[in-house]
């Protein structure tokens, strides 16, 4: 569905993404892992049109989408979340969700003056939808709070909630799990799976929690230093020497010392 072809992204002399080539199959839930600074988020940003690539091409369903602005991509069904939550902090959580769907007739000035009936109907539906999403994410109690005044984890959930407001084709999730309670995270994993199975969404998931990746993703791509290091099922990846060395590590060294104490 998405093909990333030899994409480079340089910041000054630094090659954050350094010739990544990968493919995301339609209907898959692809995991994207790799050490901090591997270039995962940067790659997301290039695909989602936030950053122009230094070179390379991105296509979606065969169409060249390199350098298209994010809002155009959104309307093509490409959604993403942000690693560092980008909530609309002065708006309520519900408004954060309700603003998402595109093409609302109330977004046209003319209608705000002369099409009030239609807007009211649409708003009712939107509101119901937003409430449903919040309930699912167990954040219904914060629906009327300003998004800037909720906990770190709740912001991340809100971030995720926005992608659930519309019918997307492909959703890029950048560490939705960081800071989210594990029990809830696994519930979310189930939801993602359901969306994937029932509605055919494609997902690309960056996550450092191997258990979460394990529950969801196939295939898993591991990046390091801007390049694709390995690709395969999670088990294959976990067994890959390079991946272990660069990313997974071998566990706590001090654990035994702790036990001694």
């Amino acid at each position: 569905m998405i093909v990333v072809d030899d994409v480079h992204k340089h910041f000054g002399g630094f090659h954050a993404v350094d010739g990544s080539t990968l493919e995301i199959a339609k209907g898959s839930i692809t995991g994207l892992i790799g050490p901090n600074g591997a270039g995962k988020t940067t790659l997301f940003n290039v695909i989602a049109g936030v950053l122009p690539p230094t070179s390379g091409r991105v296509t979606m369903d065969g169409e060249d989408i390199t350098g298209l602005p994010p809002h155009t991509l959104f309307h093509k069904g490409l959604l993403r979340t942000f690693q560092i939550a980008h909530e609309f902090s002065s708006m309520t959580c519900r408004e954060n969700l309700m603003m998402v769907p595109g093409g609302q007739s109330g977004e046209t000035l003319w209608n705000t003056w002369f099409g009030r009936k239609r807007i009211a109907d649409e708003e009712r539906a939107l509101r119901a939808k937003a409430d449903e999403v919040m309930e699912f994410l167990t954040i219904e109690q914060i629906s009327d709070l300003k998004a800037g005044e909720v906990s770190g984890g709740q912001k991340k959930l809100l971030e995720l909630g926005r992608t659930m407001m519309v019918d997307a084709k492909i959703v890029f999730l950048d560490e939705v799990g960081a800071g989210v309670n594990r029990t809830l995270l696994y519930t979310i994993a189930d939801a993602i799976k359901r969306l994937n199975e029932e509605r055919g969404y494609t997902f690309v998931v960056i996550e450092h929690d191997m258990e979460f990746i394990g529950r969801l993703c196939d295939p898993v791509i591991c990046m390091a230093e801007g390049k694709v290091l390995a690709q395969g099922t999670l088990d294959e990846i976990k067994a890959n020497e390079q991946v272990i060395e660069a990313y997974l590590g071998t566990g706590l060294k001090n654990k035994d010392k702790l036990a001694d104490a």
Partner: protein, 440 residues
């Protein structure tokens, strides 16, 4: 609920100030309706400007500090729409001016085209330079003699192209359109800038607009001013000479001079109020709709709004053009009220920052706040002078008569005006730091 009452009370308070000014001459009040309505009228115009700025800043977070430029363009529209065409101006050079301007525009279009369509490198630089330099000289060659031609026609009284000789009320929407057109051009180039960078860019553009209006005499006589612009109603003098009017007035037992001046002012008040209410309603409806929500989202976080499918650039342009158009309309109304266009009077303090004070004191992001701030701050702008005088008289009352300090202070009374303005501004912002009617 109590909020609503509180805010209504504030409006009532401002209304009361105006009424007091009309009825009592105690303290800072003047005690004539002429003065009170005069303040109200400019207050209404200010409120409309504040509404425009609030649209841009309060809704979309665009730091436009070029209000002065748009107001001036509105004023220019009045001249261009209402004044009579200067006899002979078109044959003496008017056509040349238009051709020159078209040449200039073509040069810029060509330059932009080349920049966009040629690969970067030396050839592009050369072509670009050739176009710009060639275009500039062609422009000057056509434009300069044409301008001298027009400006030579009775320079002390005319020397400009003149206008379309249309009714003055048409000039208001025309002012809006002119400002909107300029805003569109500016927005296309400068809206990529953020916060204070956009501010200085718009400030600069406003200065450029004023510079053009001051120095291009063929347009609207430059610093020589255009006086005696037409009005949407009869002049007071005409009324005083109209037997019908006089009859009504005397039968009502009114003073004819006062009646005629009030008549004019009341008509202005009604017209301005109508414009203000219409714009306020539109702004309010827009704010409370998904459109307003989208705008707030954009203001809040542009990156996220982009990712949520909102075309931030386009929306910014839309609101920038709208807000500026409103300022243009207000500018045209103000010039109509003044009856003259005096480019030298446009300065940023009065026409940009004072409006900002109105928006912020009123409560940015809230349309009613902007309107309240507009009228209230204008009231103070006029009344700080007597207030300042009062303050200084009070401050010096303890001093010995004829003491050097006292004389010195009394002589400097004029400077109490801005001093008092500052004091009021700080006091209001101290007691309601988010504005009188803050955004919810």
């Amino acid at each position: 609920m109590s909020e609503t009452i509180k805010h209504s009370l504030m409006f009532a308070f401002v209304g009361l100030l105006i009424i007091l000014d009309g009825t009592t001459s105690y303290g800072i009040f003047s005690g004539t309706w002429n003065s009170a309505l005069g303040i109200l009228n400019m207050g209404l115009v200010s409120a409309i400007m504040a509404l425009g700025v609030n649209l841009q800043w309060g809704f979309a977070g665009l730091f436009n500090v070029g209000i002065m430029g748009f107001t001036a363009l509105g004023g220019l529209a009045v001249v261009l729409v209402t004044s009579a065409p200067t006899p002979g101006a078109w044959s003496q050079g008017g056509v040349g001016i238009i051709i020159g301007l078209i040449l200039g525009a073509l040069t810029i279009v060509a330059a932009v085209f080349v920049t966009k369509n040629m690969a970067t490198g030396k050839p592009r630089m050369l072509v670009l330079a050739a176009i710009l330099i060639g275009g500039f000289f062609a422009f000057r060659a056509v434009f300069d003699p044409a301008v001298s031609g027009v400006e030579a026609i009775n320079p002390a009284l005319l020397g400009n192209l003149g206008g379309l000789n249309l009714p003055v009320l048409l000039a208001w929407p025309a002012g809006g359109l002119l400002a909107a057109g300029a805003a569109w051009l500016i927005g296309k180039t400068a809206l990529g800038l953020r916060s204070d960078y956009l501010a200085i860019a718009t400030l600069g553009i406003a200065e450029i607009i004023i510079a053009v209006m001051k120095n291009e005499d063929w347009l609207s006589r430059g610093v020589k001013n255009v006086v005696g612009l037409p009005r949407p109603m009869r002049k007071e003098i005409a009324l005083q000479e109209d037997p019908g009017f006089m009859e009504t007035v005397t039968s009502l037992g009114l003073d004819p001079v006062i009646a005629s001046t009030l008549y004019v002012k009341i008509i202005y008040s009604l017209l301005f109020t109508a414009v203000l209410l219409a714009l306020l309603w539109m702004a309010q409806m827009a704010l409370k709709s998904p459109w307003g929500r989208m705008m707030r989202a954009i203001r809040d976080n542009e990156v996220a709004s982009e990712a949520m499918g909102k075309d931030v650039t386009r929306r910014h342009l839309q609101i920038f053009v709208l807000g500026s158009a409103i300022c243009g309309i207000a500018g045209a109304m103000m010039t109509t009220l003044d009856g003259q266009l005096t480019p030298g009077t446009y300065n940023p303090l009065r026409f940009t920052f004072l409006i900002w004070v109105m928006v912020v004191v009123g409560g940015s992001g809230n349309n009613f706040g902007a309107v309240l701030g507009g009228i209230l701050i204008w009231f103070f702008w006029i009344k700080v002078e007597p207030m300042g005088t009062g303050l200084i008289t009070f401050a010096t009352s303890g001093l010995a008569e004829g003491s050097a300090l006292k004389t010195h202070l009394l002589e400097s009374t004029a400077h109490m005006r801005l001093f008092t303005m500052g004091l009021i501004l700080l006091l209001v912002l101290r007691f309601s730091p988010r504005g009188l009617i803050p955004e919810k």
